[in-house]
């Protein structure tokens, strides 16, 4: 078990990186607690896998140090770190039986055969692989194969953390749920640190205690699923998490009123006072779920034209036009839907202000 610290990590695949855009990882400074379940969420190409490989030692970062329990492991190769990694596609030793696959990491480390047998049996039990132990690994289904990849990490008693690189990509949807459930179970049973890389928000939000959102080589927000939803620190988090994503409107701030193409929207006092110090392009952000929609004019509401209504089953998505800006609102099933004109209201506590993509806050 280990606490993993990433100390001022930056990595570039180029030999002589010139500016920021040459870096796959820009500036990562973070700590992963022992026994935590973390999800690393971000779009393809944002540097998730690079970061994972830095942690596991497959890649040495251009700058910064990696520490396990305070011990510097930056220059240690993967086999010398107490880490296991599960890849996107199941990696198996085709010619070996399931038993030998699971025993492989132990045998390579010169473990006694009696101990090997004991460990393999234990792990097979946890992963429900016992009936397959004598089968050749190559003939099994994708989910069983992925469990074997995971098992090769679990057999080592010294393993501190398991890293998953989009492990459910090749698994059938109905098995995905089962396997994810299994992962949580393993996590609770063995109290290992798990780091789970994915681009699927549902996977990340259901799996992890802490979600780290990555965007263009940076960790833009770290928090619980709820924090990410309610208080996105970066415009990207707003877009990426939630369905549909957050609404953004370019604005200027005047006192505690934000002006969007002539329409005034009230901000809360704290945001308003901070807004004056903020530099860069200002944008107003609100979750479709929190945007209030009324059929008639109420206090503080603004008229907008209804464009479309999409029925998504348990809720409806209303698209409105507010003086040239498109906004989406998520309405509960039972709420009245305006036909042509909607009166929308921005609840001040839910209305966020972003400067150059970053949340304006303390």
């Amino acid at each position: 078990m280990a606490r993993i610290e990433l100390n001022e990590i930056a990595h570039s695949y180029k030999k002589n990186p010139k500016d920021d855009s040459d870096y796959a990882l820009k500036h990562i400074h973070n700590e992963w607690k022992d026994g935590g379940a973390y999800a690393l969420l971000g779009p393809s190409g944002c540097g998730k896998t690079t970061l994972l490989n830095v942690i596991s030692g497959l890649l040495t970062p251009s700058q910064g140090r990696v520490l396990y329990d305070g011990k510097d492991v930056t220059d240690l190769p993967p086999e010398k770190r107490n880490i296991a990694q599960v890849f996107q596609f199941p990696v198996l030793y085709d010619t070996m039986s399931v038993f030998n696959n699971l025993a492989f990491p132990l045998r390579n480390r010169g473990t006694q055969e009696s101990e090997v047998k004991k460990r393999v049996m234990e792990v097979a039990e946890i992963l429900d692989l016992t009936p397959f132990l004598n089968r050749r690994a190559a003939g099994l289904a994708a989910d069983a194969k992925q469990k074997i990849s995971l098992g090769r990490g679990l057999v080592r008693s010294d393993v501190a953390a398991i890293l998953f690189d989009e492990p459910l990509t090749v698994i059938d949807p109905h098995l995905k749920w089962q396997l994810r459930h299994k992962l949580k179970e393993v996590h609770e049973q063995l109290k290992l640190t798990l780091v789970y890389v994915t681009h699927d928000q549902v996977e990340a939000l259901t799996f992890a205690d802490q979600v780290l959102v990555m965007y263009e080589g940076e960790l833009v927000q770290i928090g619980t699923p709820q924090e990410l939803f309610e208080n996105p620190k970066h415009k990207f988090v707003g877009y990426f998490i939630g369905s549909p994503g957050m609404n953004f409107l370019s604005c200027t701030v005047d006192g505690n009123i934000a002006r969007v193409d002539g329409v005034g929207i009230e901000l809360n006092d704290e945001t308003a006072s901070l807004a004056h110090k903020a530099t860069g392009k200002l944008e107003l952000g609100i979750r479709p779920m929190y945007l209030e929609v009324n059929v008639e004019s109420v206090k503080g509401s603004i008229p907008a034209t209804v464009k479309t209504v999409e029925d998504q089953g348990s809720f409806k998505v209303l698209t409105v036009n507010l003086s040239g800006n498109i906004l989406r609102a998520r309405l509960p099933e039972d709420q009245a839907v305006p036909l042509n004109e909607a009166w929308i209201r921005f609840p001040t506590q839910r209305t966020k202000l972003y400067a150059d993509g970053r949340l304006v806050n303390k």
Partner: protein, 293 residues
């Protein structure tokens, strides 16, 4: 659902069938025809049944040529396959080195067979050849090197030529097989603490199985059919020590004009190659699948 009875589609196979008939089946049948007759001249032939087959199967010159052939093809596989794999493992995986290696490797493959023979005659000549003069100037050998002087020298020259000519093919196939292994396998092996031997044995070799099957089959067939190189280099000599099956066959058919025995011999030859290819294919397909199912 019941199957729709409509066999008209078979007509679409007809063109392929006709081409195969003319390219393979009919020529083969002519050979069968020759093998059961004694032909004296145009229009003069006698049906002899299986006599030629019996004669050929008991022919000790054929036996000698056959054992020589097995030895040669066996040595070729034993040298070329491991050597090809080693070259492929040593080749660079990125940068300009890749194209340089590929082009250099492919060079021997584009030279015609009989030209190869000529090149090696000159290369090994004891008076002007680089290799011949070079090795003799070291003064290590009791009998100075000359591929016509001793059967061993003739064999060494032939094997060296064959290995030089065809190992690149094995290396290219093995290289293609190696390139197709996803990076994650190597990464997983690293994390599992596998030695480079274990990585080779449990990842690279199993993943190369497909291409190595093709390499073994091609090299077996080609070396079993070898003709032009020994014909150009040694002509089957010294004595009969490099008279392989095809050289003997050509002697029989075109020099002695024994068409009947030669045809029977051809068919036996054909069956041997077919049997071996089948055996190799089955063996390689099932290798490593031996563990309990």
């Amino acid at each position: 659902m019941e199957k729709w009875e409509n066999n008209k589609a078979w007509f679409l196979v007809l063109p392929a069938f006709i081409i195969v008939a003319f390219s393979a089946f009919i020529p083969l049948m002519t050979v069968v025809n020759y093998s059961i007759q004694d032909i004296f001249g145009p229009g003069q032939s006698v049906f002899v049944g299986t006599e030629w087959f019996k004669e050929m199967l008991g022919n000790h010159r054929l036996h000698d040529a056959l054992w020589r052939q097995f030895l040669f093809s066996g040595l070729v596989l034993l040298i070329e396959i491991p050597l090809g794999i080693m070259i492929a493992l040593a080749m660079p995986t990125r940068g300009w080195g890749v194209s340089a290696c590929l082009v250099t490797l492919a060079l021997p493959l584009v030279i015609p067979w009989n030209v190869i023979g000529t090149i090696w005659i000159i290369f090994t000549r004891p008076d002007i050849g680089l290799f011949g003069v070079g090795i003799n100037s070291l003064d290590l050998l009791e009998v100075p090197f000359d591929h016509t002087a001793k059967p061993l020298y003739a064999w060494i020259t032939l094997l060296a030529m064959e290995v030089w000519h065809w190992t690149p093919l094995v290396a290219l196939l093995a290289y293609a097989g190696l390139r197709a292994i996803p990076e994650a396998y190597y990464q997983a092996a690293k994390i599992d603490g596998a030695s480079s031997w274990a990585t080779f044995f449990y990842i690279q070799l199993p993943k190369m199985r497909g291409v190595l099957t093709i390499a073994v089959l091609l090299r077996w067939m080609d070396s079993f059919l070898i003709y032009a190189e020994p014909f150009a280099l040694t002509g089957g000599g010294p004595g009969n020590t490099t008279t392989f099956l095809s050289i003997y066959l050509v002697k029989l058919a075109t020099m002695q004009f024994d068409l009947g025995p030669a045809a029977a011999f051809s068919l036996i030859y054909f069956v041997i190659i077919l049997l071996f290819c089948f055996a190799f294919y089955q063996a390689l397909l099932n290798v490593g699948r031996g563990e309990k199912a």
